[in-house]
């Protein structure tokens, strides 16, 4: 159930993950550049373990996984918890990982924008949240551009490279999405009178 469907950006496409993606997933999780920037979705493992993880992911009721492609190449993954029982309907972005070889090409922004279009324009969610390491400048820039604001900051949260780094907690309400992208970022063209 919770393997994501196709979401098309301008340069990237989020699509349903398949077993053939798993070798790349494992490689990214073992890459220190990825681990420095963000938390990993599982530790590196043998292919059979990854297959099992994908099978388990498919059973998840509320957490959705997508693979991200650009020009037909697998370049990353995104994973989000959708819905909320006690708060407003929301997405919580748990992982957004790009192949380090594909960094600084604008793919992160393109895929993030498309994914948030799905959250707000398709699922009609009221807000989205996620956490970033305070020195993840590229991630923070994308978040700010989308309309996220900081609501909390954990100090000395993650240990790596011999020191602790802070964690920034971000939330984006529906309003900034509507203001910034509501008119331009639509999943479908209006039905018009054909309804």
């Amino acid at each position: 159930m919770a393997l994501g469907g196709i979401i098309r950006g301008k340069r990237t496409t989020l699509r349903t993950p398949v077993e053939e993606d798993l070798a790349a997933y494992s490689r990214w999780m073992a890459d220190l550049r990825v681990r420095r920037a963000a938390g990993v979705w599982h530790e590196p493992a043998m292919p059979a373990t990854w297959k099992e993880r994908l099978k388990e992911q498919a059973k998840e009721q509320r957490v959705v996984l997508w693979s991200i492609e650009a020009d037909g190449r697998l370049i990353g993954l995104a994973r989000a918890r959708l819905g909320s029982l006690e708060g407003p309907p929301a997405a919580y972005l748990q992982h957004f990982i790009l192949d380090p070889e594909e960094w600084r090409k604008g793919y992160g922004w393109d895929a993030a924008l498309a994914l948030h279009r799905y959250f707000f324009d398709y699922l009609d969610l009221k807000r989205s949240g996620f956490e970033l390491r305070a020195d993840n400048v590229a991630g923070l820039r994308i978040a700010e551009k989308l309309g996220y604001t900081e609501f909390g900051r954990g100090h000395e949260v993650h240990y790596r490279e011999g020191a602790y780094v802070d964690e920034v907690w971000l939330v984006m309400q529906r309003e900034p999405w509507d203001e910034r992208f509501g008119k331009t970022e639509r999943e479908y063209v209006p039905f018009g009178t054909a309804r």
């Binding site: 708060g87 609501f151 100090h155």
Partner: protein
């Protein structure tokens, strides 16, 4: 894992849970008085699967759970959860199931004992938590043991026509008040 017995003041202690405690926790979590700030008041827990939950928590390698006892009776639970062993950080939580005992300082004492253990026996670097902002008793209990507010999460829960924000807190060994260190850490020669 389950935490060891730590004896505090005023008849309050932390102790390793027993199966009967788990059955009590499940019952309390269905009561309206207790779930104003602890939702969603429905469950998959049954008396039949209590043992399974008990074993799961006992064998967990990323959490420490205690029962809270007051005058010898189990009245709630507390613990450290989602432990990151590399960052030496974890999320703390507390739950007093006996709502007739609210306001007696049980939570404050339980938090003090829990944090003393986390800093002095687990050598942790940090702990954090999220608490309903309106649940002053709970976040004040944490503040007394060195937590400070690091953010506010807006509109986290809806109850009876009102949205409730959440108080985000964190604590470090250095923020624990030295004069509040309980035995046996306060006086290693004379353990309580």
């Amino acid at each position: 894992m389950f935490g060891p017995r730590i004896v505090g003041e005023n008849g309050i202690e932390l102790r390793p849970p027993v199966l009967e405690d788990y059955k009590l926790f499940a019952v309390w979590q269905m009561e309206p008085e207790v779930t104003r700030f602890w939702g969603p008041r429905f469950t998959t827990e049954t008396p039949e699967n209590a043992e399974e939950r008990f074993k799961k928590h006992l064998e967990s390698n990323n959490s420490v759970t205690w029962s809270i006892a007051y005058q010898g009776e189990t009245v709630g639970m507390t613990g450290l959860f989602d432990i990151s062993w590399t960052s030496r950080d974890g999320e703390t939580g507390i739950f007093i199931g006996r709502h007739d005992l609210y306001g007696k300082g049980i939570a404050s004492e339980a938090v003090r004992l829990r944090m003393a253990f986390i800093w002095n026996e687990m050598n942790f670097h940090r702990a954090h938590n999220w608490i309903a902002l309106a649940n002053q008793g709970s976040w004040r209990a944490n503040q007394k043991s060195g937590y400070s507010q690091i953010g506010t999460y807006p509109r986290s829960w809806f109850r009876s026509g009102e949205w409730f924000d959440e108080w985000l807190g964190e604590a470090f060994p250095r923020t624990f008040p030295a004069d509040k260190l309980p035995s046996p850490w306060r006086d290693k020669e004379h353990p309580k």
